[in-house]
Amino acid sequence: MFHLKSLASSIRVIGQRSLENGFHTSAACSSVFMKRQKKIDPEIAKVREIRKRKKLEREIREMQKHSKKVKPVDEIALDIKSAKNIHERTRKQVTLTEQQADERTLIAKEYCRSRNTQMRHDDQWIRQALYMQKKALAELKTLSPHLYEEAVKNDLGNLPHIIDGPALTSPVKNYDPPDGDYVDTTRTWT
């Protein structure tokens, strides 16, 4: 009971204060769309409606011209702060001995060769796989048209297909993780 009384008195105090300060706590209800207008002549109403629509459409069109702004991609954008003092962080050019230079060239060449071989193998695999698939599907079509239809259809049921890449290390056995949290700090535009 006491609580209620105190609550009521506090509310009264707040109410008085707001009145003193000239604040109104009622909801805003003075939009064009909220206030009921007098009924006007249908001819005039029609003209006004067309005018209003045209105006809004034009405004939307104008805004759409300039509105499509891509969210900034920070890792691609130039960091102006560090770009200004870039000369402070330039390193001395390293001169390699002839032996080192040779070694590095050889490694680079070997790497290049290995990538080249891999790409050639991949390419071959792609061509072969496509060829084999085509052949197999043609064969299936003659054997069972129903199964062919099933094999070939674009099934959206499988689709959000998520593949997780390999981890750098294998899982640690009996790992006791510390207490922690993730706080989302993604920039929002609202």
Partner: protein
Amino acid sequence: MLSALARGRVGLAATRRLATLREKAGQKDPLERYEPKFEDPREYPEFPVLNVRLQGYDFVPLEKYQSFVDKIARRFNFPIVESYAVAAQTCRALTYKPQSTIVADEIELAVYDRVVRIGPVPAPKLQLFTQMIRAHCPVGVTITIKEATREDEQYRYIPDLMLKEKQEELKSLDNPIVRKNLGWE
């Protein structure tokens, strides 16, 4: 000779010897007499547009891998609509001291985001493509293959609140209550 003419695939040299224009034109399929036949080049059912979304904590290998996915898609003869970067999702990872909520350590993490949009993609070929890019997936990268939607497209851009307001206002003019309040009905 006539069958070749009927197929309409003979060069100028072959038709030169023929006497009349009618012969030169060759026999035509009655169905193709007034309108050309439009053959559907699609071999299998297709996915119209697909997004291959790549996410990872390290954007240097991620970017390299994006170019690789692009390259492989070209090898499969999938047309590439677009290949772009999306703003990263950032989060702060905290660790607490034992039995408390005092922060022991914290680090800023960003999940970088790259998208290769391909399409149209023949359905059976997608499996081979997936197999290929999965085999080359670098460490710590997550691949998501899904149909491109409007939300994905909108996610790239900063939402324009003023524009949305105007569009809402235009839409509200169809609302009978609003119309009544304006005195139009």
